[in-house]
């Protein structure tokens, strides 16, 4: 029997890898923070407040998208690569709605009409995104539910490619700018005074943040307090037993995708209103960052996704300045956070709710 036992090495180099990486990262962070805060002191407090505010707003958007990822992963154990593109389609729908409303002169007729227009844009965007998400599930994921893990993943990549390029061909590769109503232009809002300097809190930013919080609360209530939410939790825990209990698994999965679509659509319209520029590839990077946020919070874990999104948003806004890294490398920061989280705490900050499914 001794032949089947792997010989124990007295010194296993592999075990040093994680602590070594950890030490390097911490040393790097401490060095950069030292330089920025004590040596250069380039930024005053009002700049930090500005960064923090934009970070919180961005974090709200990331959280909403991350919720979509987490929902789908919790039920199907697959990453919906096309989620970012559903967000892009929601953004485009919002764009067209606002353009149409502007064309028939309804957008700026009065403050009430402006508010109604924005609400309509959101609703239409969320509806279209929902339809797209449901269609996606029906066409590209449902036939592959029983296939080995790699297959639905590749299908998701294919869908993502398809949506991005279809959007490029149909809507054109040029950047489109959202036409906000005049009362909600991207550069007006409330003024805070910090350190005798003005800090602008835009109306679009406040709308985005408030809406994100509302959506998160709504989702939490849906999942915890309603019958559909209970069914979703049951299917996430064990599909076969849920089917035995009389739950229509197909319908629950379709509903999950519908909800994730609604969230993505809302996030898309929010992105358009606040950031202003949309194009066919706009969903790609926020999609990956939102996935990072979902993983940070613990995939499958709804409060985790919310916290992860907010944390990532703030980190992304504050860290480049805090660490003295050029802003161009902002995305590198997000990817590095992903890698570090997956190395050191793959179950996420709040812990993974569902056990790893062996396939």
């Amino acid at each position: 029997m001794d032949r089947f036992v792997r010989p124990q090495r007295s010194f296993n180099l592999g075990r040093l890898v994680r602590p070594a990486i950890g030490v390097l990262v911490i040393a790097f962070l401490v060095w950069r923070l030292w330089i920025v805060f004590f040596v250069q002191q380039a930024y005053g407090p009002e700049t930090w407040v500005r960064f923090a505010i934009s970070g919180i707003i961005l974090g709200g958007v990331y959280a909403v998208i991350a919720l979509g990822y987490t929902l789908v992963y919790g039920i199907l154990f697959m990453i919906n690569f096309a989620h970012g593109d559903v967000m892009m389609l929601g953004a485009f729908t919002g764009y067209f709605t606002l353009e149409a409303l502007n064309g028939i002169d309804l957008l700026n007729r009065s403050i009430a009409w402006s508010i109604i227009s924005i609400a309509v844009a959101f609703i239409v965007g969320m509806l279209v995104a929902m339809v797209v998400a449901i269609a996606l599930e029906r066409i590209a994921y449902r036939p592959l539910r029983a296939a080995p893990r790699l297959v639905p993943l590749i299908s998701a990549i294919g869908v993502s490619l398809f949506l991005e390029n279809a959007a490029q061909l149909v809507f054109g590769p040029a950047r489109h700018t959202f036409t906000n109503p005049e009362v909600m232009e991207r550069n007006i809002g409330w003024i805070l005074m910090v350190n005798d300097k003005k800090v602008l809190v835009t109306y679009t930013g406040v709308l985005t943040f408030v809406l994100s919080i509302l959506l998160m609360i709504g989702l939490y209530v849906l999942v915890q307090r309603t019958k559909m939410g209970k069914a979703m939790r049951a299917v996430a825990e064990d599909k076969q037993i849920a089917a035995l209990m009389g739950i229509d698994v197909d319908r629950v999965i379709a509903n999950t995708f519908a909800i994730s679509g609604v969230l993505a659509g809302a996030a898309g319209v929010m992105w358009g209103l606040h950031m202003g520029i949309i194009y066919h590839f706009v969903g790609f990077i926020p999609g990956i960052k939102a996935f990072t946020a979902a993983v940070m919070g613990g995939i499958g874990n709804i409060p985790g996704a919310m916290l992860g999104g907010l944390a990532l948003g703030i980190m992304e806004a504050v860290a480049p300045a805090a660490l003295g890294i050029p802003f161009q490398l902002k995305d590198v920061l997000a990817f590095s956070i992903l890698v570090l989280v997956l190395i050191f705490r793959p179950t996420g900050l709040l812990g993974e709710v569902l056990a790893e499914k062996k396939m």
Binding site: V17, I21, L144, L153
Partner: protein
């Protein structure tokens, strides 16, 4: 006769046709066909496309609704065509009336030029054009439905199939043919002829073809490298372009006068480029390969993007040459002869491909190959059987990185210039597509995939805009219909089909249990 199914098929075909119009394919196909048949206008080609889709809609409607009688088939086809036609009629009317009233729809829907509107309405006013569209598509649906019914009635498909297999068996039974297929030398003769052609070809091809086929060849090398990672070991790597970039940048930075001025020769740089790629494969692999498939995909994607962003960033311009890239990369020279043109590079690439194929083949049929097979099917069981999964995953990753490094070195010195825009995510996706569509884990599949997916777009230049769209569609369609690829290895085919049979059994049990 299930009306709901009929309407659904009609609607689906309608949506496809709307899509075709919005994507501008009507105009494109119309203009392409003009060249082939020497027509005078794009209308015939465009309308043929639309009518074919309507035909198909009618066919599927009748097939799904299982019509028994002629009358039913007629009505089904007509209904499908009519629902389809209605959607397109509304689109035609909407677009042409908007265009006629002077609104420039192109601001939002780029492909709807006034010419496109013209195509849809055939030069008639909006309402008339819409009615014509409706009638034509409804008729096409009818014809499609009737055709399916006829072919099902006279069992055309089965008789064709049996006639084909009959002819085939009779052909193979002829003694002369038997001699060739059974003889053990025939395969060697085939290989010999193939190799001869391969080595003689660069002499005959002009510079243009040597260049394009050279690019295809580099993608073959990349594809075979990714084949080891994705196809043999089952690790979905979306950041493969990073290793390609490292090989290319190593060559560039070590041989070009700027930014460092280390003017090394090509030959010492070749192993150095591969070595750097290998080292980065190890550095990336050790922390990353413990993760699950989905996470691995995103992390490798992130790594690929990190390499691209870093090489493009202004902050690191002193080291990497920045967004403008590195120029004047050296080419190889042997005994004083400058081997720096397309012709010799073609031979390089061919040698590279042969080497890579050889290594892949030997690995596949070795202990490592068997370990990969076991890990693909069930990682925990493989670990329990004593296979050191991390070691073998790392091996696959590193060999893939080495091949990408080789490709990168050849790429950089052939182009004599390299920059961050050569190493976008698109390259990774392209290579992934050709591995998956060609056949995961199968060497001839990957080579064929590279030839088709990289070579065809060179030939069909007009369709280049639609290339990634087609790739995305192909990926989804292939995963649903034929996940093992177009030219699969038999092992993989068995793996994918076995999974389906097993789970359909389980699904059957589940249905019995729930009593539905």
């Amino acid at each position: 006769m299930n009306i709901r199914l009929i309407l659904r098929d009609g609607l689906l075909a309608g949506i496809i046709n709307v899509f075709i119009v919005l994507l501008g394919l009507t105009g494109l196909v119309g203009t392409m066909v003009i060249g082939w048949f020497e027509l005078s206008s794009p209308e015939p080609g465009a309308w043929t496309l639309l009518l074919i889709v309507a035909l198909w809609g009618g066919m599927t409607a009748v097939r799904h609704a299982e019509c028994k009688a002629w009358g039913e088939a007629l009505i089904a086809g007509l209904l499908a065509g009519a629902s389809h036609g209605l959607i397109l009629a509304v689109l035609t009317w909407g677009v042409s009336s908007l265009v006629n009233s002077g609104v420039d729809v192109r601001r939002w829907l780029v492909q709807l030029t006034p010419d496109a509107a013209q195509l849809l309405t055939l030069g008639r006013p909006p309402v008339a054009g819409a009615i014509v569209m409706f009638a034509a598509l409804a008729a096409a649906g009818l014809v499609g439905g009737v055709w399916t019914h006829v072919s099902a009635h006279y069992k055309m498909r089965e008789s064709l199939g049996s006639r084909w297999s009959e002819t085939r068996t009779r052909f193979l039974a002829v003694p002369a043919v038997q001699n060739v297929t059974q003889s053990r030398y025939s395969l060697y003769v085939l290989y010999g002829i193939g190799l001869l052609l391969l080595f003689a070809a660069p002499l005959k091809l002009g510079q243009y073809w040597n260049y394009t086929l050279g690019t295809v060849g580099i993608y073959v090398i990349l594809g075979l490298g990714l084949n080891i990672v994705v196809g043999l070991a089952g690790l979905l790597d979306l950041g493969y372009v990073a290793f390609f970039a490292i090989g290319a940048y190593t060559t560039a930075l070590l041989t070009a006068p700027t930014p460092h001025g280390i003017m090394m020769d090509f030959w010492p740089v070749l192993p150095l480029g591969i070595a750097f790629a290998v080292v980065s494969g190890v550095v990336l692999g050790i922390p990353v390969l413990r993760m699950r498939g989905d996470y691995l995909a995103i992390v490798t994607l992130g790594f690929g993007e990190i390499i691209r962003i870093l090489s493009k960033s202004d902050a690191l311009t002193d080291f990497t040459g920045g967004p403008r890239g590195v120029r004047a990369v050296a080419g190889p020279s042997l005994f004083g002869i400058n081997l720096n043109n397309e012709f010799y590079f073609m031979y390089f690439i061919i040698l590279g491909i042969v080497l890579v194929i050889f290594i892949t083949y030997r690995l596949q049929h070795s202990r490592a190959g068997r370990a990969w097979m076991a890990m693909r099917e069930d990682e925990d069981v493989a670990e329990a059987m004593g296979i050191h999964t991390l070691k073998y995953k790392l091996l696959a990753f590193v060999i893939g990185a080495a091949f990408a490094g080789l490709g990168g070195v050849i790429f950089a010195s052939r182009n004599k210039f390299t920059g961050p825009e050569d190493f976008t995510l698109l390259v990774s996706i392209n290579v992934l597509c050709l591995v998956i569509i060609g056949g995961m884990g199968s060497i001839p599949g990957v080579v064929m995939g590279a030839l088709v997916l990289k070579g065809l777009p060179e030939v069909l230049r007009e369709l280049d805009d639609y290339r990634m769209l087609v790739f995305g569609t192909l990926l989804v369609v292939m995963m649903i219909l034929r996940p093992e690829g177009l030219w699969p290895s038999t092992r993989r085919k068995m793996e994918f089909r076995a999974e389906n049979e097993q789970t359909s059994e389980r699904a059957g049990e589940q249905l019995e249990l729930t009593g539905s």
